[in-house]
Amino acid sequence: MANSGTQSRKYRLQGAGLDLALPYLMLAPGLLIVLGVLVYPLWDGLRASTKVYRYGSVVADVGMQNYIKLWSDPQFLNSLWVTVEFVALSVTFEAILGFALALFCLREFRGIRLLRTILIIPMVITPVVVAIVFRLIYASDAGMLTAISEWMGGGQVQILGSPVKAFIGLVVLDVWEWTPLMFLILLAGLQSLPHEPFEAARVDGAGNWRVFADLTFPMMRPVLAIAIVLRTIDAFGTFDQVFVLTRGGPGEATRLVSIYGYDTAFKFQQTGYAAALFVTIGLVVLALAFSAVRLLRRVDAS
Protein backbone atom coordinates (compact mmCIF):
# COMPACT_ATOMS: atom_id res chain seq x y z
CA MET A 1 0.00 0.00 0.00
CA ALA A 2 2.69 2.50 1.00
CA ASN A 3 4.34 2.98 -2.39
CA SER A 4 7.15 5.46 -2.97
CA GLY A 5 4.75 8.03 -4.43
CA THR A 6 2.84 8.57 -1.22
CA GLN A 7 6.10 8.41 0.74
CA SER A 8 7.64 11.35 -1.08
CA ARG A 9 4.39 13.26 -0.89
CA LYS A 10 4.41 12.90 2.85
CA TYR A 11 7.89 14.41 2.96
CA ARG A 12 6.71 17.32 0.88
CA LEU A 13 3.77 17.85 3.19
CA GLN A 14 6.03 18.32 6.14
CA GLY A 15 6.91 21.83 5.08
CA ALA A 16 9.27 23.97 7.10
CA GLY A 17 9.57 26.06 10.25
CA LEU A 18 7.18 25.25 13.06
CA ASP A 19 5.73 22.48 10.88
CA LEU A 20 8.96 20.52 11.34
CA ALA A 21 8.32 20.24 15.06
CA LEU A 22 4.65 19.43 14.55
CA PRO A 23 4.84 15.61 14.60
CA TYR A 24 6.72 15.72 17.90
CA LEU A 25 4.32 18.25 19.37
CA MET A 26 1.40 16.04 18.34
CA LEU A 27 2.92 12.90 19.78
CA ALA A 28 4.07 14.51 23.02
CA PRO A 29 0.88 14.82 25.12
CA GLY A 30 -0.23 11.22 24.67
CA LEU A 31 3.26 9.85 25.01
CA LEU A 32 3.95 11.84 28.20
CA ILE A 33 0.77 10.57 29.88
CA VAL A 34 1.51 7.00 28.85
CA LEU A 35 5.12 7.25 30.01
CA GLY A 36 4.09 8.66 33.37
CA VAL A 37 1.11 6.47 34.17
CA LEU A 38 1.91 3.21 32.35
CA VAL A 39 5.60 2.89 31.55
CA TYR A 40 7.02 4.28 34.77
CA PRO A 41 4.77 1.99 36.86
CA LEU A 42 5.72 -0.94 34.62
CA TRP A 43 9.37 -0.25 35.36
CA ASP A 44 8.59 0.33 39.02
CA GLY A 45 6.71 -2.96 39.11
CA LEU A 46 9.71 -4.80 37.72
CA ARG A 47 11.83 -3.24 40.46
CA ALA A 48 9.28 -4.02 43.16
CA SER A 49 9.19 -7.65 42.04
CA THR A 50 12.77 -8.13 43.24
CA LYS A 51 12.09 -6.77 46.73
CA VAL A 52 10.46 -7.90 49.92
CA TYR A 53 8.07 -5.40 51.52
CA ARG A 54 6.82 -5.14 55.05
CA TYR A 55 4.05 -2.64 55.86
CA GLY A 56 4.59 -0.86 52.57
CA SER A 57 8.34 -0.33 52.81
CA VAL A 58 11.21 -2.34 51.35
CA VAL A 59 13.03 -4.55 53.86
CA ALA A 60 15.16 -6.71 51.58
CA ASP A 61 16.47 -6.99 48.05
CA VAL A 62 16.07 -10.59 46.92
CA GLY A 63 16.80 -10.49 43.19
CA MET A 64 14.99 -13.25 41.35
CA GLN A 65 13.94 -15.06 44.54
CA ASN A 66 10.28 -13.97 44.26
CA TYR A 67 10.10 -15.42 40.75
CA ILE A 68 11.69 -18.69 41.84
CA LYS A 69 9.44 -18.96 44.88
CA LEU A 70 6.35 -18.74 42.65
CA TRP A 71 7.04 -22.10 41.07
CA SER A 72 7.11 -23.91 44.40
CA ASP A 73 4.08 -22.08 45.82
CA PRO A 74 1.22 -24.62 45.74
CA GLN A 75 -1.38 -21.85 45.91
CA PHE A 76 0.07 -20.09 42.87
CA LEU A 77 0.37 -23.34 40.94
CA ASN A 78 -3.21 -24.21 41.81
CA SER A 79 -4.49 -20.79 40.75
CA LEU A 80 -2.58 -21.11 37.48
CA TRP A 81 -4.13 -24.52 36.86
CA VAL A 82 -7.62 -23.24 37.71
CA THR A 83 -7.07 -20.34 35.29
CA VAL A 84 -5.94 -22.64 32.47
CA GLU A 85 -8.92 -24.92 33.02
CA PHE A 86 -11.28 -21.94 33.15
CA VAL A 87 -9.88 -20.38 29.98
CA ALA A 88 -9.77 -23.65 28.04
CA LEU A 89 -13.32 -24.68 28.91
CA SER A 90 -14.89 -21.23 28.46
CA VAL A 91 -13.18 -20.40 25.18
CA THR A 92 -13.90 -23.84 23.70
CA PHE A 93 -17.60 -23.59 24.45
CA GLU A 94 -17.73 -19.98 23.25
CA ALA A 95 -16.03 -20.89 19.97
CA ILE A 96 -18.32 -23.86 19.28
CA LEU A 97 -21.54 -22.08 20.24
CA GLY A 98 -20.52 -18.84 18.53
CA PHE A 99 -19.59 -20.67 15.32
CA ALA A 100 -22.80 -22.69 15.29
CA LEU A 101 -24.89 -19.58 15.84
CA ALA A 102 -22.98 -17.63 13.17
CA LEU A 103 -23.53 -20.43 10.61
CA PHE A 104 -27.17 -20.45 11.56
CA CYS A 105 -27.55 -16.69 11.09
CA LEU A 106 -25.65 -16.57 7.82
CA ARG A 107 -28.81 -16.74 5.76
CA GLU A 108 -30.63 -13.46 6.26
CA PHE A 109 -34.03 -13.88 7.80
CA ARG A 110 -36.54 -11.80 9.64
CA GLY A 111 -35.62 -11.23 13.25
CA ILE A 112 -31.87 -11.48 12.72
CA ARG A 113 -31.39 -7.81 13.53
CA LEU A 114 -33.31 -8.21 16.75
CA LEU A 115 -31.13 -11.21 17.59
CA ARG A 116 -27.92 -9.25 16.99
CA THR A 117 -29.15 -6.35 19.09
CA ILE A 118 -30.09 -8.63 21.98
CA LEU A 119 -26.75 -10.42 21.76
CA ILE A 120 -24.88 -7.15 22.33
CA ILE A 121 -26.33 -6.85 25.83
CA PRO A 122 -24.30 -9.50 27.71
CA MET A 123 -20.93 -8.16 26.59
CA VAL A 124 -21.61 -4.50 27.28
CA ILE A 125 -23.14 -4.92 30.75
CA THR A 126 -20.67 -4.02 33.48
CA PRO A 127 -18.85 -7.26 34.41
CA VAL A 128 -19.59 -6.61 38.09
CA VAL A 129 -23.29 -6.54 37.24
CA VAL A 130 -22.97 -9.74 35.19
CA ALA A 131 -21.62 -11.37 38.33
CA ILE A 132 -24.54 -10.01 40.36
CA VAL A 133 -26.94 -11.40 37.76
CA PHE A 134 -25.40 -14.85 38.17
CA ARG A 135 -25.34 -14.65 41.96
CA LEU A 136 -29.05 -14.00 41.71
CA ILE A 137 -29.42 -17.07 39.53
CA TYR A 138 -27.30 -19.37 41.70
CA ALA A 139 -28.26 -18.17 45.21
CA SER A 140 -29.74 -21.04 47.18
CA ASP A 141 -32.39 -18.85 48.84
CA ALA A 142 -33.21 -16.09 46.35
CA GLY A 143 -31.93 -17.70 43.18
CA MET A 144 -33.73 -18.22 39.90
CA LEU A 145 -32.73 -21.90 39.81
CA THR A 146 -34.14 -22.44 43.29
CA ALA A 147 -37.32 -20.55 42.41
CA ILE A 148 -37.83 -22.65 39.28
CA SER A 149 -37.03 -25.86 41.12
CA GLU A 150 -39.50 -25.02 43.90
CA TRP A 151 -42.13 -24.04 41.37
CA MET A 152 -41.76 -27.51 39.87
CA GLY A 153 -41.99 -29.05 43.32
CA GLY A 154 -38.26 -29.55 43.97
CA GLY A 155 -36.03 -28.20 46.72
CA GLN A 156 -33.30 -25.58 47.00
CA VAL A 157 -30.50 -25.63 44.44
CA GLN A 158 -26.95 -25.26 45.79
CA ILE A 159 -24.35 -24.02 43.32
CA LEU A 160 -21.81 -21.66 44.85
CA GLY A 161 -21.25 -23.82 47.95
CA SER A 162 -19.77 -26.75 46.04
CA PRO A 163 -16.29 -26.45 44.48
CA VAL A 164 -17.12 -28.26 41.23
CA LYS A 165 -20.49 -26.59 40.72
CA ALA A 166 -19.11 -23.14 41.53
CA PHE A 167 -16.38 -23.63 38.93
CA ILE A 168 -18.90 -24.77 36.32
CA GLY A 169 -21.10 -21.84 37.34
CA LEU A 170 -18.23 -19.48 36.59
CA VAL A 171 -17.64 -21.06 33.18
CA VAL A 172 -21.36 -20.71 32.40
CA LEU A 173 -21.18 -17.03 33.33
CA ASP A 174 -18.24 -16.48 30.99
CA VAL A 175 -19.94 -18.38 28.16
CA TRP A 176 -23.09 -16.30 28.63
CA GLU A 177 -21.11 -13.08 28.62
CA TRP A 178 -18.70 -13.72 25.75
CA THR A 179 -20.27 -16.14 23.25
CA PRO A 180 -21.89 -13.10 21.57
CA LEU A 181 -18.44 -11.64 20.84
CA MET A 182 -17.34 -14.90 19.23
CA PHE A 183 -20.58 -14.90 17.26
CA LEU A 184 -20.08 -11.35 15.96
CA ILE A 185 -16.48 -11.92 14.88
CA LEU A 186 -17.26 -15.26 13.22
CA LEU A 187 -20.39 -13.95 11.51
CA ALA A 188 -18.39 -11.07 10.02
CA GLY A 189 -15.81 -13.64 8.91
CA LEU A 190 -18.40 -15.88 7.27
CA GLN A 191 -19.99 -12.94 5.48
CA SER A 192 -16.66 -11.95 3.95
CA LEU A 193 -15.99 -15.40 2.39
CA PRO A 194 -16.14 -15.53 -1.43
CA HIS A 195 -19.29 -17.08 -2.93
CA GLU A 196 -17.84 -18.91 -5.95
CA PRO A 197 -16.37 -22.02 -4.25
CA PHE A 198 -19.64 -22.63 -2.47
CA GLU A 199 -21.69 -22.31 -5.65
CA ALA A 200 -19.31 -24.65 -7.45
CA ALA A 201 -19.58 -27.23 -4.65
CA ARG A 202 -23.36 -27.06 -4.76
CA VAL A 203 -23.32 -27.59 -8.53
CA ASP A 204 -21.12 -30.64 -7.92
CA GLY A 205 -23.81 -31.89 -5.57
CA ALA A 206 -21.89 -31.62 -2.28
CA GLY A 207 -24.01 -31.99 0.85
CA ASN A 208 -24.10 -29.60 3.81
CA TRP A 209 -21.55 -31.53 5.82
CA ARG A 210 -19.06 -31.83 2.92
CA VAL A 211 -19.34 -28.10 2.20
CA PHE A 212 -18.66 -27.32 5.85
CA ALA A 213 -15.73 -29.73 6.26
CA ASP A 214 -14.05 -29.03 2.91
CA LEU A 215 -14.81 -25.34 2.41
CA THR A 216 -16.29 -23.35 5.29
CA PHE A 217 -14.11 -24.63 8.08
CA PRO A 218 -10.73 -24.43 6.28
CA MET A 219 -11.54 -20.95 4.96
CA MET A 220 -12.66 -19.78 8.38
CA ARG A 221 -9.56 -21.02 10.20
CA PRO A 222 -7.73 -17.65 10.29
CA VAL A 223 -10.73 -15.75 11.66
CA LEU A 224 -11.42 -18.53 14.12
CA ALA A 225 -7.80 -18.35 15.26
CA ILE A 226 -7.96 -14.58 15.79
CA ALA A 227 -11.21 -14.85 17.73
CA ILE A 228 -9.86 -17.61 19.96
CA VAL A 229 -6.60 -15.78 20.63
CA LEU A 230 -8.34 -12.49 21.49
CA ARG A 231 -10.72 -14.25 23.85
CA THR A 232 -7.98 -16.36 25.44
CA ILE A 233 -5.84 -13.30 26.23
CA ASP A 234 -8.85 -11.54 27.67
CA ALA A 235 -10.10 -14.51 29.68
CA PHE A 236 -6.66 -14.97 31.22
CA GLY A 237 -7.06 -11.68 33.04
CA THR A 238 -10.62 -12.30 34.27
CA PHE A 239 -11.03 -10.70 37.69
CA ASP A 240 -14.22 -8.68 38.27
CA GLN A 241 -16.70 -11.51 37.73
CA VAL A 242 -14.90 -13.91 40.08
CA PHE A 243 -14.34 -11.25 42.71
CA VAL A 244 -18.08 -10.61 42.95
CA LEU A 245 -19.40 -14.12 42.24
CA THR A 246 -17.26 -16.32 44.49
CA ARG A 247 -14.29 -14.28 45.70
CA GLY A 248 -12.22 -17.30 44.55
CA GLY A 249 -14.04 -19.85 46.68
CA PRO A 250 -15.24 -22.18 47.91
CA GLY A 251 -11.75 -23.05 49.07
CA GLU A 252 -9.56 -22.37 46.04
CA ALA A 253 -12.00 -23.79 43.49
CA THR A 254 -12.42 -20.59 41.47
CA ARG A 255 -9.32 -18.69 42.56
CA LEU A 256 -7.83 -17.49 39.26
CA VAL A 257 -4.29 -16.07 39.18
CA SER A 258 -5.63 -12.52 39.08
CA ILE A 259 -7.58 -13.09 42.31
CA TYR A 260 -4.62 -14.77 43.99
CA GLY A 261 -2.37 -11.90 42.92
CA TYR A 262 -4.82 -9.33 44.25
CA ASP A 263 -5.12 -11.11 47.59
CA THR A 264 -1.36 -11.50 47.84
CA ALA A 265 -0.92 -7.78 47.34
CA PHE A 266 -3.81 -6.24 49.21
CA LYS A 267 -4.88 -8.86 51.74
CA PHE A 268 -1.57 -10.49 52.66
CA GLN A 269 0.46 -7.31 51.90
CA GLN A 270 3.22 -9.27 50.12
CA THR A 271 3.76 -6.45 47.65
CA GLY A 272 7.02 -7.65 46.09
CA TYR A 273 5.86 -11.23 45.69
CA ALA A 274 2.56 -10.08 44.13
CA ALA A 275 4.47 -7.81 41.73
CA ALA A 276 6.54 -10.81 40.59
CA LEU A 277 3.33 -12.78 40.12
CA PHE A 278 1.76 -10.09 37.96
CA VAL A 279 4.92 -9.66 35.87
CA THR A 280 4.86 -13.42 35.26
CA ILE A 281 1.21 -13.28 34.14
CA GLY A 282 2.07 -10.36 31.86
CA LEU A 283 4.91 -12.33 30.27
CA VAL A 284 2.65 -15.35 29.71
CA VAL A 285 0.02 -13.19 27.99
CA LEU A 286 2.62 -11.39 25.85
CA ALA A 287 4.06 -14.74 24.81
CA LEU A 288 0.57 -15.89 23.85
CA ALA A 289 0.00 -12.71 21.85
CA PHE A 290 3.31 -12.87 20.01
CA SER A 291 2.94 -16.52 19.08
CA ALA A 292 -0.54 -15.64 17.84
CA VAL A 293 0.82 -12.82 15.67
CA ARG A 294 3.37 -15.21 14.17
CA LEU A 295 0.66 -17.77 13.56
CA LEU A 296 -1.46 -15.19 11.77
CA ARG A 297 1.45 -14.02 9.62
CA ARG A 298 1.95 -17.61 8.52
CA VAL A 299 -1.75 -17.92 7.69
CA ASP A 300 -1.60 -14.63 5.76
CA ALA A 301 1.41 -15.77 3.77
CA SER A 302 -0.16 -19.06 2.68
Partner: protein
Protein backbone atom coordinates in the same frame (compact mmCIF):
# COMPACT_ATOMS: atom_id res chain seq x y z
CA UNK B 1 -41.32 -25.47 6.76
CA UNK B 2 -39.02 -27.57 8.87
CA UNK B 3 -36.15 -25.12 8.65
CA UNK B 4 -38.51 -22.32 9.59
CA UNK B 5 -39.52 -24.17 12.72
CA UNK B 6 -35.87 -24.78 13.56
CA UNK B 7 -35.14 -21.09 13.12
CA UNK B 8 -37.93 -20.08 15.44
CA UNK B 9 -36.77 -22.69 17.95
CA UNK B 10 -33.15 -21.51 17.96
CA UNK B 11 -34.18 -17.87 18.02
CA UNK B 12 -36.41 -18.32 21.04
CA UNK B 13 -33.79 -20.41 22.84
CA UNK B 14 -31.14 -17.72 22.33
CA UNK B 15 -33.49 -14.94 23.37
CA UNK B 16 -34.52 -16.86 26.48
CA UNK B 17 -30.94 -17.63 27.51
CA UNK B 18 -29.87 -14.01 27.11
CA UNK B 19 -32.96 -12.35 28.53
CA UNK B 20 -34.09 -14.64 31.37
CA UNK B 21 -31.13 -13.77 33.66
CA UNK B 22 -31.76 -10.08 32.99
CA UNK B 23 -35.47 -10.53 33.65
CA UNK B 24 -34.60 -12.13 37.00
CA UNK B 25 -32.35 -9.21 37.94
CA UNK B 26 -35.02 -6.63 37.13
CA UNK B 27 -37.80 -8.67 38.72
CA UNK B 28 -35.81 -9.19 41.94
CA UNK B 29 -35.06 -5.47 42.13
CA UNK B 30 -38.82 -4.79 42.28
CA UNK B 31 -39.48 -7.15 45.20
CA UNK B 32 -39.07 -6.64 48.92
CA UNK B 33 -36.35 -8.62 50.70
CA UNK B 34 -39.09 -10.67 52.41
CA UNK B 35 -40.64 -11.66 49.11
CA UNK B 36 -37.21 -12.51 47.68
CA UNK B 37 -35.96 -14.85 50.37
CA UNK B 38 -39.13 -16.29 51.88
CA UNK B 39 -41.65 -16.58 49.10
CA UNK B 40 -39.44 -17.21 46.10
CA UNK B 41 -41.98 -15.75 43.68
CA UNK B 42 -41.37 -15.94 39.93
CA UNK B 43 -42.46 -12.32 39.41
CA UNK B 44 -42.95 -9.43 41.87
CA UNK B 45 -46.36 -9.89 43.47
CA UNK B 46 -46.12 -6.56 45.27
CA UNK B 47 -43.87 -4.48 42.99
CA UNK B 48 -42.05 -1.66 44.79
CA UNK B 49 -39.47 0.97 43.94
CA UNK B 50 -38.23 1.09 47.55
CA UNK B 51 -34.96 -0.66 46.67
CA UNK B 52 -34.10 2.04 44.17
CA UNK B 53 -35.06 4.86 46.49
CA UNK B 54 -32.92 3.34 49.24
CA UNK B 55 -29.87 3.22 46.94
CA UNK B 56 -29.98 6.96 46.52
CA UNK B 57 -31.11 7.99 50.00
CA UNK B 58 -29.09 5.57 52.14
CA UNK B 59 -26.35 4.11 49.97
CA UNK B 60 -24.94 7.12 48.15
CA UNK B 61 -25.53 5.91 44.64
CA UNK B 62 -25.92 9.51 43.56
CA UNK B 63 -22.27 10.06 44.46
CA UNK B 64 -21.14 6.87 42.67
CA UNK B 65 -23.00 7.89 39.53
CA UNK B 66 -21.51 11.39 39.60
CA UNK B 67 -18.02 9.99 40.12
CA UNK B 68 -18.46 7.54 37.24
CA UNK B 69 -19.72 10.21 34.86
CA UNK B 70 -17.00 12.72 35.74
CA UNK B 71 -14.18 10.19 35.58
CA UNK B 72 -15.44 8.63 32.34
CA UNK B 73 -16.01 11.98 30.65
CA UNK B 74 -12.60 13.45 31.41
CA UNK B 75 -10.52 10.35 30.82
CA UNK B 76 -12.21 9.69 27.46
CA UNK B 77 -12.10 13.33 26.36
CA UNK B 78 -8.42 13.82 27.20
CA UNK B 79 -7.47 10.48 25.67
CA UNK B 80 -9.40 11.29 22.52
CA UNK B 81 -7.62 14.62 21.98
CA UNK B 82 -4.15 13.33 22.83
CA UNK B 83 -4.79 10.02 21.06
CA UNK B 84 -6.11 11.56 17.85
CA UNK B 85 -3.09 13.88 17.57
CA UNK B 86 -0.69 11.05 18.26
CA UNK B 87 -2.45 8.74 15.82
CA UNK B 88 -2.34 11.42 13.14
CA UNK B 89 1.38 11.94 13.63
CA UNK B 90 1.96 8.18 13.34
CA UNK B 91 -0.27 7.83 10.29
CA UNK B 92 1.03 10.81 8.32
CA UNK B 93 4.60 11.73 9.21
CA UNK B 94 7.83 9.91 8.44
CA UNK B 95 10.28 10.64 11.25
CA UNK B 96 13.99 9.79 11.48
CA UNK B 97 14.71 6.15 12.44
CA UNK B 98 11.06 5.27 11.67
CA UNK B 99 10.36 6.61 15.13
CA UNK B 100 6.63 7.01 14.53
CA UNK B 101 6.28 3.33 13.65
CA UNK B 102 8.21 2.30 16.76
CA UNK B 103 6.00 4.48 18.95
CA UNK B 104 2.92 2.90 17.40
CA UNK B 105 4.18 -0.63 17.97
CA UNK B 106 5.19 0.27 21.50
CA UNK B 107 1.71 1.57 22.33
CA UNK B 108 0.13 -1.54 20.83
CA UNK B 109 2.34 -3.77 22.98
CA UNK B 110 1.33 -1.79 26.06
CA UNK B 111 -2.27 -2.37 25.07
CA UNK B 112 -1.78 -6.15 25.03
CA UNK B 113 -0.15 -6.29 28.48
CA UNK B 114 -3.00 -7.03 30.89
CA UNK B 115 -3.67 -3.98 33.08
CA UNK B 116 -3.39 -6.13 36.19
CA UNK B 117 0.40 -6.20 35.67
CA UNK B 118 0.75 -2.56 36.71
CA UNK B 119 -1.91 -2.62 39.41
CA UNK B 120 0.56 -2.61 42.29
CA UNK B 121 2.96 0.05 40.99
CA UNK B 122 0.06 2.33 39.97
CA UNK B 123 -1.30 1.92 43.48
CA UNK B 124 2.11 2.78 44.96
CA UNK B 125 2.44 5.76 42.59
CA UNK B 126 -0.96 7.19 43.56
CA UNK B 127 -0.14 6.58 47.21
CA UNK B 128 3.06 8.57 46.82
CA UNK B 129 1.29 11.39 44.98
CA UNK B 130 -1.57 11.47 47.48
CA UNK B 131 -4.04 10.67 44.68
CA UNK B 132 -5.66 7.60 46.24
CA UNK B 133 -9.42 7.93 46.51
CA UNK B 134 -9.57 10.92 44.21
CA UNK B 135 -11.03 11.71 40.79
CA UNK B 136 -7.64 12.79 39.52
CA UNK B 137 -5.98 9.44 40.31
CA UNK B 138 -8.66 7.51 38.43
CA UNK B 139 -8.75 9.97 35.54
CA UNK B 140 -4.97 9.78 35.08
CA UNK B 141 -5.02 5.98 35.08
CA UNK B 142 -7.96 5.58 32.73
CA UNK B 143 -6.68 8.30 30.39
CA UNK B 144 -3.42 6.42 29.94
CA UNK B 145 -5.21 3.15 29.17
CA UNK B 146 -7.55 4.90 26.76
CA UNK B 147 -4.71 6.63 24.93
CA UNK B 148 -3.08 3.34 23.92
CA UNK B 149 -6.41 2.23 22.54
CA UNK B 150 -7.32 5.55 20.87
CA UNK B 151 -3.99 5.89 19.08
CA UNK B 152 -4.17 2.37 17.74
CA UNK B 153 -7.75 2.70 16.52
CA UNK B 154 -7.58 6.27 15.19
CA UNK B 155 -4.43 5.53 13.22
CA UNK B 156 -6.28 3.11 10.98
CA UNK B 157 -9.10 5.61 10.48
CA UNK B 158 -6.68 8.39 9.48
CA UNK B 159 -4.94 6.10 7.01
CA UNK B 160 -8.23 5.64 5.18
CA UNK B 161 -8.50 9.39 4.49
CA UNK B 162 -6.70 10.50 1.30
CA UNK B 163 -3.74 12.87 1.76
CA UNK B 164 -4.75 14.95 -1.27
CA UNK B 165 -7.47 16.74 0.68
CA UNK B 166 -4.96 18.06 3.19
CA UNK B 167 -2.58 19.07 0.42
CA UNK B 168 -5.35 21.04 -1.24
CA UNK B 169 -6.13 22.81 2.03
CA UNK B 170 -2.45 23.70 2.46
CA UNK B 171 -2.23 25.03 -1.08
CA UNK B 172 -5.15 27.26 -0.10
CA UNK B 173 -3.08 28.64 2.77
CA UNK B 174 -3.84 26.38 5.72
CA UNK B 175 -1.01 25.45 8.07
CA UNK B 176 -0.18 21.76 8.52
CA UNK B 177 -2.04 21.66 11.84
CA UNK B 178 -4.87 23.76 10.39
CA UNK B 179 -5.34 21.17 7.64
CA UNK B 180 -5.51 18.43 10.26
CA UNK B 181 -8.01 20.31 12.36
CA UNK B 182 -10.26 21.64 9.59
CA UNK B 183 -10.10 18.83 7.02
CA UNK B 184 -8.91 15.50 8.42
CA UNK B 185 -10.52 15.58 11.84
CA UNK B 186 -14.08 16.21 10.59
CA UNK B 187 -13.64 13.49 7.95
CA UNK B 188 -12.53 11.08 10.67
CA UNK B 189 -15.55 11.94 12.83
CA UNK B 190 -17.23 8.52 12.46
CA UNK B 191 -14.00 6.82 13.51
CA UNK B 192 -13.59 9.26 16.35
CA UNK B 193 -17.12 8.45 17.49
CA UNK B 194 -16.54 4.69 17.35
CA UNK B 195 -13.34 5.10 19.35
CA UNK B 196 -15.01 7.31 21.95
CA UNK B 197 -17.92 4.91 22.31
CA UNK B 198 -15.71 1.95 23.01
CA UNK B 199 -13.56 3.95 25.42
CA UNK B 200 -16.66 5.08 27.32
CA UNK B 201 -17.85 1.50 27.59
CA UNK B 202 -14.58 0.16 28.94
CA UNK B 203 -13.98 3.09 31.29
CA UNK B 204 -17.46 3.12 32.76
CA UNK B 205 -17.29 -0.63 33.41
CA UNK B 206 -13.75 -0.74 34.86
CA UNK B 207 -13.56 -2.34 38.29
CA UNK B 208 -10.09 -3.60 39.24
CA UNK B 209 -8.33 -0.22 39.45
CA UNK B 210 -11.39 1.41 40.99
CA UNK B 211 -11.25 -1.31 43.63
CA UNK B 212 -7.59 -0.69 44.44
CA UNK B 213 -7.51 3.10 44.05
CA UNK B 214 -10.75 4.21 45.74
CA UNK B 215 -12.20 3.57 49.18
CA UNK B 216 -14.98 6.08 49.93
CA UNK B 217 -17.95 7.64 48.11
CA UNK B 218 -15.65 10.57 47.44
CA UNK B 219 -14.29 8.77 44.37
CA UNK B 220 -15.90 5.30 44.18
CA UNK B 221 -17.39 4.60 40.76
CA UNK B 222 -20.60 2.67 40.05
CA UNK B 223 -19.07 -0.80 39.70
CA UNK B 224 -16.95 -0.18 42.79
CA UNK B 225 -19.93 1.09 44.79
CA UNK B 226 -22.09 -1.81 43.67
CA UNK B 227 -19.48 -4.28 44.87
CA UNK B 228 -19.54 -2.78 48.37
CA UNK B 229 -23.15 -3.92 48.72
CA UNK B 230 -22.10 -7.52 48.64
CA UNK B 231 -21.87 -8.69 52.19
CA UNK B 232 -19.76 -11.51 53.49
CA UNK B 233 -22.55 -13.47 55.15
CA UNK B 234 -25.84 -11.64 54.84
CA UNK B 235 -26.68 -10.42 51.40
CA UNK B 236 -29.13 -7.63 50.78
CA UNK B 237 -30.45 -9.10 47.52
CA UNK B 238 -32.99 -6.32 47.04
CA UNK B 239 -30.39 -3.50 47.10
CA UNK B 240 -27.92 -5.59 45.14
CA UNK B 241 -30.30 -6.28 42.27
CA UNK B 242 -31.47 -2.66 42.15
CA UNK B 243 -27.82 -1.59 42.10
CA UNK B 244 -27.23 -4.02 39.24
CA UNK B 245 -30.04 -2.48 37.23
CA UNK B 246 -28.89 1.09 37.94
CA UNK B 247 -25.28 0.14 37.18
CA UNK B 248 -26.10 -1.56 33.89
CA UNK B 249 -28.88 0.68 32.61
CA UNK B 250 -26.86 3.69 31.40
CA UNK B 251 -24.28 1.59 29.60
CA UNK B 252 -26.76 -0.85 27.99
CA UNK B 253 -28.92 2.03 26.84
CA UNK B 254 -25.86 3.78 25.47
CA UNK B 255 -24.62 0.62 23.74
CA UNK B 256 -27.95 -0.11 22.05
CA UNK B 257 -28.12 3.50 20.90
CA UNK B 258 -24.75 3.32 19.18
CA UNK B 259 -24.52 -0.40 18.40
CA UNK B 260 -23.53 0.12 14.78
CA UNK B 261 -20.27 1.73 15.87
CA UNK B 262 -19.60 -0.72 18.63
CA UNK B 263 -18.66 -3.91 16.87
CA UNK B 264 -15.31 -2.75 15.53
CA UNK B 265 -14.07 -1.73 18.95
CA UNK B 266 -15.33 -4.86 20.62
CA UNK B 267 -13.67 -7.13 18.13
CA UNK B 268 -10.45 -5.11 18.42
CA UNK B 269 -10.51 -4.68 14.65
CA UNK B 270 -10.07 -8.42 14.12
CA UNK B 271 -12.39 -8.13 11.15
CA UNK B 272 -13.04 -4.84 9.49
Amino acid sequence: MNSRLARIGVMSAVLAIVLLPIYWLVSTSLKSNREITQEGTLYPHLPTLDNYIRLFTEKQFGAYLTNSLVVTFFSVAIALVAGAMGAYAIARFRLPFAMERKVGLFLLTLRIVPPVVILIPVYLLMLKLGLLDSWLGLIATYTAFNITFCVWMMESFFREIPVDLEEAAMVDGDSRFGAFRRITLPLAAPGLAATAIFAVLVTFNEFLFALALTATPRAMTMPRGTATLIGRIDTDWASMSAAGVIGALPIVFFALLVQRHLVRGLTMGAVK
